[in-house]
Symmetry: C2
Subunit: 417 residues, 2 copies
């Protein structure tokens, strides 16, 4: 097979394809596997019922059913959906958002593939710009998105202890001041894999750096603000005239509709809509049609506050309690990133004698699937001390199994530390 | 705004973005415009009812509703859908198709963006390969998909008169024998914009050329075989062990679900699934869920044969009759490509004294929207005589308006020829 350089690289062995192969293999051959690896949202009965009702309403309205499956949207998404969303966001972001600032895509993965390659890579002025990830670890899904093979410039974080067995990462602003040739800055907030929520002052400082370079600050809000609101620490949504906010319907409970949303300055939104046309023609309509009725009368916020957020918060608290108990019972040296948001615990084992990948393999043998932390450190040759001693565990799935899983993790780490 | 070279080019003024801007402007400011430009499928009441019923069935089944919106598919698409589709295609293609040969994408535009850039551009061996379009005119939507700015190598067609005021394009095989550095060969079949259906012997010859270069033959079957079957001339679906067949649910009546299907050799399908994961994470589920019940018991073929195909065939015949009548009444020098498939008439005006773009603008003034033929000639510096004297008119929309539109076209061309 004769492949382009880009094609060979993007389809070759990568973190994400390794993981998927492994996951597929585990699912096929080990039905008892405890799934604490992937990012599938939990099944929340009230939320499923809500979306089923919305789907029924849509299906029972001949005109709406036809427009949802039978008429192409504009490349930026349905105009009336974008207007409703703009009105909703204007309330949330405390500033006027116009429909022309909104582009609907086929999911956040597609949003970021487009944005990263719009801003980074060899430039019109022959400068080779990078996407700056100012605070590793960052989302594994970004790692292979570059048309240019070295798309990212990533910085190791500062580690700040917060209390017994707890810490937080923060951006290292001294490192930032030495950089140039940046095309855009990107952070996930809440962070995947850590659950970190970068503070507003830190975001403002990142935004100032971005402005000083004349580039945008991309905030990947897939887990967060203003929805699905998997936020467990007092935090506000951040938006400035230099911000690109990417949102998703996935963690609200709609991962299979593949709807991503980008809120950006108008000139960037216009570029992105053209890119959407060329790469996807138009976004899928279903997610927009299901969301539309929720954008009015506070329904979306109520769904998040009453069902989505409490579901994950309860699971987080249960896993956190069990983790502390089992790790301490087995004498494990551990620290957990403050789980301020999202659906993950990010656990650091300072005395681990094996690599996090070896730990992952050991755990897989014992039928617990986690993600080795090393995947989340890319775009740098100096990833820092945490890069080989952490794992990410997901608490979105069935609680009993997850609680059994954390005990197996505690026992296993105790053997190798 | 600092953009990558790729980003600046793909989001700059291009055929497709010009067209979209113009279309948006026309829709906003000229409500009486007769739309014979775009590719929206027609509204077929029986088909809309069928899909509404399928949507209701899905919405009323709590488990199915949840899996359709609430659970990520695998990157290649839902396994059970791919198995059903493989069984259906095995019957249609007269050979065993395995589910592992099928990848579901977010639409044909995305399928081809991935395939073109997988095979063409600078190669691992430093050879810069091209996508060969062996017979212009070709689909405008391909034109801007290249990560590499010069992705295509296109050949002008041979023109064969068939009867009074009719002709067909054929590939110029002598030209093909002089080529090298090809990464893949691609044809739309039925052709967009011409409605041409390349004959099986000609396809076999193209496939032989592709094999001699060690590259695949991509057949874009969005309008065709085996579904939605907008085929008006005895033709068979073509598939070999060197073929990549791309299919779409759009022209069946489901453009807004954004579901594309790629059938390929297993090794290529595996690469494409990885590319899908990195660019889109997973495909949207709705199109697969709606199609699944139709794949059994001959339902899909019956829907196409009883409703989809007859709808377009009747519209084609009506427009063709009106075109001959009005062109001849106004003494227009014209020839129409044999409308063997799809939903377009491709009309050549040999004596046109203005460019096809100028004709388009004139017609827009008179509230008839068509597409200027020059957009469909790209990837060559020698597009041939037809490249500036043709228009594409779509017959999928409201018939009375379309019939009024063709008379305005006849009068206008008569003034400028």
């Amino acid at each position: 097979m004769k492949l382009s350089r880009f094609g060979a690289r993007i389809t070759g062995q990568s973190g994400i394809s390794d993981l998927m192969d492994d996951l597929g293999d585990a699912l096929a051959n080990k039905p008892e596997m405890i799934m604490m690896g992937g990012g599938n949202p939990g099944h929340i009965p009230e939320v499923s019922k809500c979306f089923q009702r919305l789907l029924q309403d849509l299906a029972n309205d001949a005109e709406l059913a036809h427009s949802t499956v039978g008429v192409y949207d504009q490349p930026a998404g349905d105009q009336s959906f974008r207007q409703k969303l703009a009105a909703y966001l204007s309330g949330q972001l405390d500033q006027e958002i116009d429909a022309s600032q909104i582009v609907v895509t086929n999911g956040t993965q597609t949003s970021l593939f487009m944005l990263f390659n719009l801003f980074a890579g060899p430039g019109e002025d022959n400068v080779n710009r990078k996407i700056l990830l100012p605070m590793l670890p960052e989302y594994i899904g970004y790692a292979d998105t570059g048309i240019d093979p070295a798309l990212f410039h990533s910085l190791a974080p500062k580690v700040e202890p917060t209390s017994a067995h707890r810490f937080r990462y923060r951006p290292d602003f001294e490192e930032l001041s030495t950089l140039d040739d940046i095309g855009a800055v990107c952070v996930s907030r809440p962070g995947n894999p850590t659950g970190n929520i970068i503070s507003t002052p830190d975001l403002e400082e990142l935004d100032e750096f971005a402005k000083s370079w004349g580039v945008p600050l991309i905030i990947d809000g897939a887990y967060g603000l203003p929805f699905p609101n998997l936020i467990y620490r007092d935090s506000k949504v951040y938006f400035s005239d230099n911000t690109i906010l990417t949102l998703s319907l996935s963690k609200l409970g709609l991962p299979a509709v593949r709807t991503g949303i980008v809120v950006a300055p108008k000139a960037i939104a216009k570029r992105l809509a053209t890119m959407n046309a060329i790469m996807s023609l138009a976004p899928a309509s279903l997610g927009q049609a299901l969301m539309s009725p929720l954008l009015e009368g506070g329904k979306l916020d109520a769904l998040c506050a009453q069902h989505v957020r409490p579901h994950y918060l309860a699971k987080r608290d249960a896993l956190l309690e069990a983790a502390d108990r089992h790790f301490q019972a087995h004498g494990v040296d551990y620290e957990i990133h403050e789980p301020d948001g999202a659906m993950f615990l990010w656990i650091h084992f300072p005395s681990l004698r094996i690599s996090s990948q070896a730990l992952y393999e050991m755990l897989r043998e014992r039928e617990v699937l986690v993600v080795s932390g090393h995947y989340f450190f890319f775009g740098t040759s100096e990833p820092g001390l945490h890069s080989d001693r952490c794992i990410r565990v997901t608490y979105s799935q069935n609680s009993d199994k997850v609680l059994a899983g954390i005990e197996i993790i505690a026992k296993t780490v105790a053997e190798f530390a």
